[in-house]
């Protein structure tokens, strides 16, 4: 069975190589994506929900000393991330226009990004966990620089490279320091974790390593003030790259915090939780306000995705402050990572379709799209309301759990603690999201259509990837247990 997981990691990389060797790009990549969907379905099917250990585990020793191994294995959390990855990959590949000049590059690059992300989510070795993410970042930078949209693509590519490059570097230092402090010969995450439980690192050491990891992972997830790369990069990125990075790859940082930092550095994370609470409120309130001021749909989605990371950091902070029995925070974070990934990918895909019809993404220049293209309006409505946190769509379930996690262990006799205050302020984010989303919807979709433009309705082929993402939001919104059932806690 481990072969299924290994195949899932290497298939996209192989397909990217084949496309590089002149294989028919669209057929190869979509075929690969469909096979990958089936592979993840197989993983879901054979996943043993009772087992606490890593499943489909395999390991190939690369280096004896220090012990680095190409090791894969998944638990419930990684499984949900894999599900997200293949879903978004499928939709992103489908969105690529095969007639574009650089289509081949986009197909191969998207497959590489997804392959890297899947490799990172499936790795049980700390070294490859990091390395696969780096592997995914390189095509991200290149595609933004080479196939970027708009006049600022170059500078946006430069900026995201700078930020994420430096962030990764700090992260690397932090991970190495962690490994060093644990005094473990190997890089196996499971063993490192066991070691951290049995023989915790001294609190002072934990503290500075945790800070490095918060900065490192945090910059990858656009924690304010390390967020400036996000909005321009997403606005400049070709659609599949924006979908894959905002939807999937960005979640690596959170995944890392949940997988590495929180369990291995409980003391250190608790020490910095106060800072995290302040920063995440900046993500939600301050970036929320910045989002309100956005004038273009793509920048708005980029900023909103920075804003919504605040909820996920809230889950991390709640876990750090209340300990691992706050299962609400874990579950909420995982659910919300999935939901946000799907909804932001859908929003970027819809922005792509709007631009293809109207030639602009400036909100003020759009009007009456709901009348001209009803199904686009319907799908946009689903994505927008999902992102607002409307019940019945996936994001709500995640957000609700995260908010509840802030009140886990609430003792009224002691009054409201910083975590509860932060949670209450974070809830205000649901109002802010509604403001910018409904304003944009009002301007772009309501009113009378611009008669001077041709608005061809969406074709079935165009609807398919959009409907797949929207469908996932509805299904998980109605039945969040479909994902949560894989989680042991």
């Amino acid at each position: 069975m481990p072969i299924v997981l290994i195949l899932l990691v290497f298939l996209p990389l192989a397909a990217a190589a084949l496309i590089g060797l002149r294989a028919p790009a669209r057929a190869t990549s979509l075929g690969t994506a469909i096979v990958m969907v089936f592979l993840v379905a197989a993983l879901n099917h054979y996943f043993d929900r009772e087992s606490p250990s890593m499943q489909f585990a395999s390991s190939l020793t690369v280096m004896e000393n220090p012990g680095i191994a190409l090791a894969f294995g998944i638990d419930g959390m990684s499984l949900v991330m894999l599900l997200l990855s293949v879903l978004v990959l499928f939709a992103a590949l489908w969105m690529i226009d095969p007639l574009a000049d650089n289509a081949r590059l986009q197909y191969a690059g998207s497959l590489l990004i997804a392959g890297g992300a899947i490799g990172a989510f499936a790795s049980t070795d700390l070294f490859f966990f990091f390395a696969f993410h780096e592997l995914a970042l390189i095509p991200t930078f290149l595609l933004i620089g080479m196939c970027g949209r708009g006049s600022n693509a170059r500078s946006a590519a430069w900026r995201i490279t700078l930020y994420l490059g430096l962030g990764s570097l700090i992260l690397l230092v932090g991970l190495l320091a962690l490994h060093h402090a644990l005094g473990q010969p190997g890089f196996s995450i499971t063993e490192l974790h066991a070691r951290a439980m049995a023989d915790p690192i001294a609190p002072e050491t934990q503290s500075w390593i945790a800070l490095l990891l918060i900065i490192g992972f945090g910059s990858l997830v656009s924690l304010v003030p390390l967020h400036s790369w996000a909005a321009p990069a997403y606005a400049a990125a070709p659609t599949p790259v924006a979908m894959l990075h905002a939807g999937v790859l960005k979640k690596f940082g959170l995944y890392g915090l949940l997988r590495v930092a929180v369990p291995m550095l409980p003391e250190g994370m608790r020490e910095w939780a106060g800072l995290l609470l302040v920063l995440l409120l900046l993500n939600i309130i301050y970036m929320g306000l910045v989002t309100i001021a956005c004038k273009r749909l793509d920048t708005m989605f980029g900023c909103s995705s920075v804003m919504h990371m605040g909820y996920l950091f809230l889950a991390v902070a709640a876990l750090s402050l209340t300990g691992p029995d706050n299962t609400l925070a874990y579950r909420g974070a995982i659910l919300l990572m999935f939901a946000h990934g799907v909804s932001i990918a859908l929003l970027f895909a819809l922005a792509d379709r709007i631009e293809s019809r109207t030639g602009t993404l400036e909100i003020a220049r759009l009007s009456g799209l709901g009348r001209a293209m009803p199904s686009l309006g319907f799908l946009f409505g689903i994505a927008a309301f999902a992102s607002i946190g409307l019940p019945g769509l996936a994001n709500f379930a995640g957000e609700l759990l995260v908010f509840l996690s802030g009140f886990h262990g609430f003792r009224p006799s002691e009054g409201l603690q910083p975590l509860q205050w932060a949670t209450i302020l974070a809830v205000w984010g649901v109002v802010i999201s509604a403001v910018y989303m409904l304003r944009a919807y009002r301007t772009a979709f309501m009113g009378d259509p611009d008669a001077s433009r041709r608005h061809d309705v969406l074709t079935t082929e165009e609807k398919l990837p959009l409907a797949a993402l929207a469908g996932a939001l509805v299904v998980v919104g109605f039945f969040p247990n479909l994902l949560l059932q894989y989680l042991p806690f």
Partner: protein
């Protein structure tokens, strides 16, 4: 075996999906499917009320993974099918079915009928969820969903600017209330470990509450904020008059009879919590009383027939909220029950008038309609009689007396406010009837108006009957929960009734003398016409604090944060990378340098282990 409450909940959802996905092309089919489904729901509610098995096993929506014994392990959708829920369901489905019937004619010409009927079904689904909710989580879920369906229906004619703005305003204003509601739920959940109504009530009965003092007050008032939004109480009342941009049958169903009453329904559900905290209760009562007065004052100066009715809805909801705050939630619910019928009647009557006058809504362009539309006039007059509480023969009389009685017992200032509101109500409703229906026709449309067509007339007649019998003991006691029908045996009852009859007469007579035979409004009080400038104030506040803050934040982000960090890092890399600059500049190279650095670091670090 199908569980009837679940069927009742899911039938409208299935209908909405069917209409949206399968019947999008046929307005006729969509209309009849929606109507049939609404009548099906009515049948189900009646059968549940007369004693069909109302058991419904809970649906585990989301497992929390908690294993602590005091905490709930899952968020469930559990249906509470007590008398309160079932009687409310009856109200919702009766009005829902009649509104569907009415819409068959009213919306016959509309091009987007499938969207309209899908929206109505979605609304019925959401509303049923609120009514049957067994815990606050479930109630919140459906609370948001009624917000969505209200948004969709207010914005039904979304190409029209005012409708688009009104729908957005309604949703956002409600969101502010929902923010409070959710915070309240978090507080209650955090303290009690449950938000199930039965469990909470048991916990309260045990005494020794986990939540006391200021936090309890805050928790209750936060929950109340949800009702302030949904039931459009001051200061969040501004969305409801604008919501009249929706089609009139929608206004009747959602913005008069049912959804806006959901706030009151929720308060009645949690009345055992409100009773714990006098501060919170008094705040609620005063907000209700204040809204009743404010809205009644504003109603006296409206020229749009629907806006008069909208303000009167606000005012009546204020009565109900006040009663809840005075710990007379039975009276509040009884008034909700009677109000639903006569207010739906009034709105549908207004709808018939608007339909027959080619969408003219200004009462000063009507006049003389009593002769042209006798049946509509008769039903509208009866609805008005109920609203202004004509003694003994109208349902509104009984329920308003119950509220006034309890107000007199609990708080004299609020009683006198409520009595004055009764006077204002009689005044503005008489004005509406006199101007729109009596006198001479003041426009061509009014001269050419003809009686409403049969389906409309039928719906009006049904509601008229219900508006009359709704307050009678034999009828109401058969439907309402035990002990909710007032006894009227307090010692001050005769005094209260005398006051209310004097107010009624004073209002009617003053209005009649003032408005009979007038061509235009002799009163012109600008502040009242402009809603006491509250809307303008909010617009200013939003511009100043929200949009202003957003602009400042955006500028800060672009110029300072970006500049600082980017400038800083760029300078750093320039210093470090000047060596490499002679090689091709570009992001990839820089990145490779970093990666190389990283790998060197890695090798160094691991070799020292």
């Amino acid at each position: 075996m199908v569980q009837l409450p679940w069927l009742l909940l899911l039938l409208p959802l299935a209908t909405a999906a069917l209409i949206h996905f399968a019947l999008g092309g046929s307005g006729r089919l969509a209309a009849w499917t929606g109507t049939a489904s609404a009548f099906g729901m009515l049948g189900l509610s009646v059968s549940l009320l007369v004693g069909a098995t109302a058991e419904a096993s809970p649906f585990v929506w989301l497992e929390t993974g908690m294993f602590h014994p005091d905490l709930e392990q899952a968020i469930t959708l559990s249906l509470k099918t007590d008398r309160l829920a079932l009687s409310m369901m009856l109200v919702v489905t009766i009005v829902g079915a009649l509104v569907h019937l009415f819409s068959l004619t009213y919306m016959a010409e509309d091009k987007a009928r499938p969207r309209y009927y899908a929206g109505l079904s979605l609304f019925l689904f959401s509303m049923t969820g609120i009514v049957l909710a067994g815990n606050l989580f479930m109630m919140f879920i459906f609370w948001e969903l009624v917000g969505l369906s209200s948004y969709l229906l207010i914005g039904h004619w979304f190409t029209k600017k005012s409708a688009a703005e009104a729908s957005k305003k309604a949703f956002l204003t409600n969101r502010i209330g929902d923010f409070g509601f959710l915070v309240g739920i978090l507080l209650i959940w955090g303290a009690f470990g449950t938000v199930d109504f039965n469990a909470l009530e048991r916990r309260v009965d045990l005494g020794n509450l986990p939540l006391t003092g200021g936090l309890l007050t805050a928790g209750i008032l936060c929950l109340f904020a949800g009702a302030v939004g949904k039931s459009a109480q001051f200061p969040l009342h501004v969305w409801l008059p604008d919501a009249m941009e929706g089609p009139t049958p929608v206004s009747a169903l959602i913005h008069a009879a049912t959804m806006v009453a959901a706030g009151v329904y929720m308060l009645v559900r949690i009345s055992f919590l409100i009773a714990l905290d006098p501060t919170a209760a008094m705040t609620i009562a005063w907000i209700g009383g204040g809204t009743a007065l404010l809205a009644a004052l504003l109603a006296t100066q409206q020229d749009d027939i629907k806006r008069v009715l909208a303000y009167s809805t606000l005012s009546q909801l204020g009565y109900m909220v006040m009663a809840v705050g005075l710990l007379a939630s039975q009276a509040a619910y009884f008034h909700l029950f009677t109000h639903a019928f006569f207010k739906a009647l009034l709105f549908l009557g207004a709808g018939a008038v608007i339909y027959c006058c080619h969408h003219e809504q200004n009462i000063w362009k009507m006049g003389g309609l009593a002769k042209r539309m006798p049946l509509t006039f008769a039903t509208f007059a009866i609805g008005t009689a109920c609203l202004i509480a004509v003694p003994y023969v109208t349902s509104g009389f009984y329920s308003k007396e119950a509220i006034l009685d309890s107000a007199y017992a609990a708080s004299r200032p609020l009683f006198w406010i409520a009595a004055f509101v009764a006077l204002l109500t009689a005044f503005y409703m008489t004005r509406l009837v006199v101007v729109a229906f009596l006198g001479k026709a003041r426009s061509q449309y009014a001269r050419d108006a003809v009686e409403a067509p049969t389906p409309m007339a039928f719906a009006l007649t049904c509601l008229t009957l219900l508006s009359i019998v709704g307050g009678f003991r034999f009828f109401a006691e058969a439907i309402l929960p035990r002990g909710f029908y007032p006894t009227f045996d307090s010692p001050h009852h005769n005094f209260v009734m005398a006051v209310s009859i004097i107010c009624l007469l004073a209002g009617v007579v003053a209005s009649f003398l003032l408005y009979r035979g007038r061509e235009k409004d002799p009163l012109h009080i600008t502040p009242l016409r402009r809603g006491l400038y509250i809307d303008d104030l909010y617009t200013g506040l939003i511009r100043l604090f929200q949009d202003g803050a957003a602009a400042v934040a955006a500028a800060f982000d672009r110029h300072i944060l970006n500049g600082f960090f980017l400038g800083g890092t760029a300078a750093l890399t320039q210093a470090v990378g000047s060596v490499f600059r002679r090689m091709q500049p570009g992001s990839l190279h820089f990145y490779l340098v970093l990666a190389a650095l990283g790998i060197m670091l890695l090798i160094w670090a691991t070799s020292t282990v």
